[in-house]
Each structure stands twice: as structure tokens, then as C-alpha cells.
């Protein structure tokens, strides 16, 4: 838990790249730390200790204040300086004295959290007369078994951070030392986890890794670059939590994802490919055949027979109106003055063009997405295996084989960038910028395909026992390394170009 910029994770990333290569912008500028939940707890405790010293209060009280102020440290400090007593009362570590008025409370002597033991009367939860009881400063005393059950219930309801005295409308908060006195083992761990989750969720500088099942947390410092590479291998955007998506903005990614999953596309499809039955308004898709349509009763239709083109009843149609495959009425309608009909038709045409455009971009986006997935799930591990074999059988030093993995990883990076360029391209208006963009995109695609081919080249020819000459291997290495460099540089330029405006 040193300074984030000097953390070990940063160093780890650097190890993946060889020393003499310039770092790509994403890694060079990153200033974040990947933390485990236990480190978050440590951080929470550090801040509580710091504020305990700073404000001259117990750690229990500091924790309650920090939780109350949603870990907004400046706000807590300001309010504290402004009116210490009010902060204590509002956060629930001090009972408001009788006749309390905030304005008059400055400089008064202050009390603090302490446990008192009540012995009179009965426990106000179980109504039993038990002597062994606990109470906060307010004196509302309950027997120990009721306290335990109460706190366990707060834990179960996930409201234990900020949990109050069980007395209705008593504002005092239960201090952590007391909670941990009652909850042991797994329950204590759950409490600590909840406390950390609260901290992470309230604090804008922290975010869970969004990968399913990953329990790492990123602590983020730099507001410029959002790409976060988690220890679990997931590469995501700190700002929006989606997969890292350079060069596209978070907003575009959001629209794109909504578009890909949403009903809206289905609706576009329905508009483009179906017409409503003129009688019962059920949508009907014509996927083959002639213009004679029957709204099938088997699928909840009404049995109405109509013409696909002019939507008039089929009974009006015969060989004189053009027969089964042509409809003169339609031609008349389109050339005539029936605006409502023409509007419907043009809406459908527009939807169809729009849909075609979307499908074109989505297919390419999806191809890169799949290729990226296969490369990271299969090719990189396979490459690591091969590297090990080359090392074991042919005694190449591992350091000399690193280029293989780097190249395979570059393919993944390129695929990811290319994938997002199709999202970018979909939203980019036609014009000079788009022409240039498409040219660069095509080039990167070519480079990536070529690099991918080189990466997939079987290494068996360098593996066999009777090969003594190592020069073919080094030739391959030099070719791959060169191409890797070219592609990487090209990708960086494309990213910078798009992010800074291609024609600006």
C-alpha cells in the first residue's frame, strides 16, 4: 500500500513489455492501483485512524463520522471546523442536550461514545429481567442476546454500517467495536466486507472490477486515461465500467450497447420487414412467395386475405391488376396523391436502409469481438505453451521468446480497437473525416490480419530435434518483431488521431 503510482501492479505491467520499446499511451499514463478487498479494509482503517487523530476522537467515532459523510473527507473537515457539536449530533455519536440549539452550541464541552451498563427494569426487546445488559450513551439498555440478534439482523439487512440504537428514533449509532464484540467469525467478516463495499460505493475514486466473479477493486488517480487493466486480466474503462473502448467515448459505447441489445433494433426490424395486416393489425413478415397474403388463423391471425403491396383486399385483385407478382394498384398508389400510404412506404424504406447500415457495422464489430475473444482465450495460452516447449527442448532463453507473447497480445489489442472503430464509424457522419478514418481503419485491419497470420505460424519447424541452425528462428523473430512494432505504432497513431480529431 505505497503510493499508487509506485505500486507493484504498475511494475508488473511494465514487465510485459520489453525495456527498449516505448510504452503505449494507455500504460504509460496510467495511475491506478488494483487492490484486494483486504487492502481496502486496511485503507478504511487508515483513514479512520487518521481522522481519529486529526479530530481528537476515538476510532469508533471517526468511522461513524466518515460513514455519515459518505467518505467525503473535505466536507467532514469543513463541517467539523464550522460546528463540531452539530457534526457529532447529526452523525449520531452524541445525544442532543435538552434545549439544544445548533447556533448556541459552539465551544461547549462535548461528551463522547461510551457504553453504559443498565441494571434497572427489563430489556426493552425481550421484556425479560436480565442483568447483563449493554447500552449506548443514551442509556437504552438491552440484554446481550437481544443486542446480538438485533445486530445480526442489521447485518442480514445490509444496513449495519450506520446502524442505530434499537430504540425507536434514538439517533445514536452503534460503534464498530461493539459490533465486533457481538459478531464473530464469519459474521464479523461479513460486516467488514459490507463496510468496505459501502466505502467503495460511496467513493468515486474506487470501482469494482466489472468482470464477473472478480473481487479486485481499482483505486483511481488520473482523470485523463480510463483504461484499467485488472489483475484478473479484464481490461475496462474506469469511467463507465464497460470493456476498455479507446478510441470511442463512453457515451457512444453506451448508445452502441443499448442499440445492440435493445428492443429498438427489433422494432426497426419489424418496421423494415413486416407490414400490419390491414384488418387485425398483426405484424406479418413476408419471407417468400407471391403478393397474395393470408393472415393465418393458426398463429392468431384473422384469416384476412390481402395484397402485400397495396394492402387492399385480395378479392379486388385478378389478372387485370397484375396477377400474383405485380400489383398495378400499388404503382397507382405510389404515383398518385395518397400521402399516408407513401409515408408508410418511405418509413419502411428508411428503416430498411438504416438497418442495413447497422447490420454492416455490427457484423464487423462482432467479427473482431469474436476474434479478440478467441485470441485471448486460446491463442495466448497456446503461445505460452509453445514458448515453454521452445525453452525446454531447444534451450532458447525465455527472455528471447517474449516477443511471441507480445505479438499475440498485440493482436488482441488491435482487435479490441478495431472492434470499437466500427462503433465509431457507425456514428460518424459522412465527409472528409470519415473517408480518412475508413482509410486508416482499413490499414490497421490489414496490419492486424497480417500480424495475426504471423502469430499463427506453426513453430514446429524450429522445434524438431534435428534442427541445429537457429537462423530461421531468428529470422522469424525479426520479421514478427518488426511487424509487431509497425502495427503497434500504427494503432497508437490511429487512436491518437481519432481522439484528437482526424481532420483538425
Amino acid at each position: 500500500m505505497s503510493e499508487p503510482s509506485e505500486s507493484s501492479d504498475w511494475d508488473m505491467e511494465v514487465d510485459d513489455e520489453s525495456e527498449d520499446l516505448p510504452e503505449p499511451a494507455l500504460i504509460r499514463q496510467k495511475s491506478y492501483t488494483i487492490l484486494h478487498l483486504s487492502e481496502i479494509e486496511q485503507r478504511v482503517n487508515e483513514i479512520a485512524s487518521e481522522y481519529s487523530e486529526l479530530l481528537g476522537i476515538s476510532k469508533d467515532e471517526a468511522l461513524i463520522l466518515l460513514t455519515h459523510y459518505h467518505w467525503k473527507l473535505h466536507k467532514l473537515q469543513d463541517s467539523w471546523l464550522d460546528n463540531e457539536m452539530r457534526v457529532r449530533i447529526e452523525a449520531g455519536i452524541l445525544l442532543p442536550p435538552a434545549g439544544y440549539e445548533v447556533a448556541k452550541s459552539r465551544g461547549k464541552k462535548l461528551g463522547s461514545i461510551k457504553l453504559v451498563r443498565g441494571t434497572e427494569g427489563c430489556c426493552q426487546i425481550c421484556y425479560e429481567n436480565k442483568l447483563d445488559r449493554d447500552a449506548l450513551q443514551c442509556g437504552h439498555s438491552y440484554c446481550k442476546s437481544c443486542w446480538r440478534q438485533y445486530l445480526e439482523n442489521l447485518l442480514y439487512e445490509r444496513t449495519i454500517a450506520g446502524g442505530k440504537c434499537p430504540m425507536h428514533s434514538c439517533p445514536l449509532k452503534v460503534p464498530e467495536s461493539m459490533i465486533l464484540g457481538y459478531l464473530q467469525g464469519e459474521k464479523a467478516e461479513n460486516y467488514k466486507r459490507l463496510k468496505c463495499e459501502e466505502f467503495i460505493n460511496q467513493n468515486q475514486a474506487y470501482r469494482w472490477c466489472p468482470a464477473p466473479g472478480c473481487s479486485y477493486v481499482v483505486e483511481y488517480e488520473n482523470l485523463g486515461v480510463h483504461g484499467i487493466s485488472c489483475k484478473c486480466g479484464y481490461f475496462f474503462c474506469f469511467a463507465c465500467g464497460e470493456e476498455a473502448h479507446r478510441p470511442v467515448s463512453c457515451n457512444l459505447v453506451k448508445s452502441w450497447i443499448v442499440k445492440n441489445s435493445a428492443e429498438s433494433e427489433n422494432i426497426t426490424w419489424i418496421i423494415a420487414n413486416t407490414k400490419q395486416c390491414p384488418k387485425c393489425r398483426n405484424p406479418i413478415e413476408k419471407n417468400q412467395g407471391c403478393n397474395h397474403m393470408t393472415c393465418r388463423r393458426e398463429v392468431n391471425g384473422c384469416g384476412h386475405e390481402f395484397c402485400w403491396l397495396c394492402l387492399g383486399p385480395w378479392t379486388d385483385h385478378n389478372s387485370a391488376t397484375g396477377g400474383f407478382y405485380k400489383c398495378n394498384k400499388y404503382d397507382e398508389l405510389m404515383s398518385g396523391t395518397n400521402n399516408a400510404f407513401k409515408q408508410e412506404e418511405s418509413k419502411r424504406e428508411k428503416a430498411k436502409t438504416e438497418l442495413d447500415k447497422y447490420i454492416w457495422y455490427f457484423e464487423r464489430y462482432n467479427n473482431h469481438h469474436k476474434a479478440q475473444k478467441i485470441a485471448s482465450e486460446k491463442q495466448v495460452p497456446a503461445m505460452e505453451e509453445k514458448m515453454q516447449e521452445l525453452h525446454d527442448f531447444k534451450q532458447y532463453p525465455i527472455g528471447e521468446l517474449e516477443f511471441l507473447k507480445q505479438a499475440a497480445e498485440q493482436v488482441i489489442k488491435c482487435r479490441r480497437v478495431l472492434k470499437w472503430t466500427y462503433c465509431f464509424g457507425y456514428y460518424l457522419k459522412s465527409g472528409a473525416e470519415k473517408d480518412l478514418f475508413e482509410h486508416l481503419q482499413e490499414k490497421l485491419e490489414e496490419n492486424t490480419e497480417h500480424l495475426h497470420e504471423l502469430v499463427e505460424k506453426p513453430l514446429d519447424e524450429f522445434m524438431s530435434a534435428d534442427v541445429i541452425d537457429r537462423s530461421p528462428f531468428y529470422q522469424h523473430k525479426s520479421e514478427l518483431t518488426n511487424y509487431f512494432q509497425v502495427t503497434k505504432t500504427f494503432m497508437e497513431h490511429l487512436l491518437d488521431g481519432i481522439e484528437n480529431g482526424l481532420t483538425a
Partner: protein, 152 residues
């Protein structure tokens, strides 16, 4: 052996019969051997628009009572109040989010009585029909109640 909830309810029952026999009479169905369902009736407070009207509340207690709030609904005739649905469900924060184990049956009845007293006219919740059809037989605690005003 009585459970913690049963013991506490027994004491509450004694208190109710001792202090509130006339104002909040309690009836426990004979077939309920666990005595975990109570019917408590009360009369609309003098001077309020519900004055003199008798209503009955149904309390269902869980084994986790009083840590967990009881389910409380109107049984039979229900008052026409903007926080009382026609299936008897009540929108009152102390029955849900603001429940505290220090509360008890008598304090709940008093809160409901006072909620009725503060109304100036008889009305029904705006979304009554849709809520009631949606609610089915579920416990009132399973809904996300939004408490629109302090009295709610």
C-alpha cells in the same frame, strides 16, 4: 418451551389486557396455538373524521419479532384514508423501514390511530386499484414503500 418472540408477545398480551383492555381489545384466534396472530381493534379518535368508527388490525408476528416488524393490515372494514389500500395494506414507515424493536403492538396501534386522526378528509390512495391487483397475497413487507409525507 416458548420462543423469544412468544415470550415477549405473552408479556405484551398481559400489558395490553392490563392497560388497554378498553381502548385496544386484543383477540387471538383459538385455533392459533402459537398465538402469533392477533386481532386488535380500536375506535377512531374523538374529534377526528374517523371518530367513533371501529376498525380491526391484523398483526402477524414472525419468530424474529420484535427484531423484525410484524405484518400489520386492516381486517374487514378499512378506513378511507389516503395511506390505506382497499386490501387493508397500510403505508406507514414504522411498519417497514423505520421499525425498531423497541416498538410494540400498543405503539403501532396508537401510530395508526394518530395517522387516521391527522387526515382532514376521507380519500383513497391514488394508485389503489393497480396496487391491490398487483399485491396478490404477498406480505406488505415485500414491497418498496415510498413514504410520501411525514405522517405516512
Amino acid at each position: 418451551m416458548l420462543s423469544r418472540a412468544q415470550k415477549r408477545l405473552q408479556r405484551e398480551f398481559e400489558e395490553m389486557t392490563r392497560h388497554y383492555q378498553d381502548t385496544f381489545p386484543v383477540e387471538i384466534p383459538e385455533n392459533d396455538t402459537n398465538r402469533m396472530t392477533w386481532y386488535v381493534s380500536f375506535i377512531g379518535a374523538e374529534g377526528s373524521i374517523f371518530a367513533g368508527e371501529r376498525y380491526t388490525l391484523e398483526f402477524r408476528f414472525s419468530d424474529n419479532y420484535p427484531i423484525e416488524a410484524p405484518d400489520v393490515i386492516f381486517r374487514g372494514a378499512y378506513p378511507h384514508h389516503e395511506h390505506v389500500y382497499s386490501n387493508g395494506y397500510i403505508c406507514l414507515s414504522i411498519l417497514y423501514d423505520d421499525w425498531s424493536p423497541s416498538m410494540k403492538v400498543s405503539s403501532v396501534v396508537m401510530s395508526i390511530q394518530s395517522m387516521l386522526s391527522s387526515a382532514t378528509r376521507k380519500s383513497r390512495p391514488a394508485n389503489d386499484a393497480s396496487f391491490v391487483s398487483y399485491a396478490g397475497g404477498r406480505s406488505p413487507k415485500t414491497f418498496n414503500w415510498i413514504f410520501e409525507d411525514e405522517k405516512c
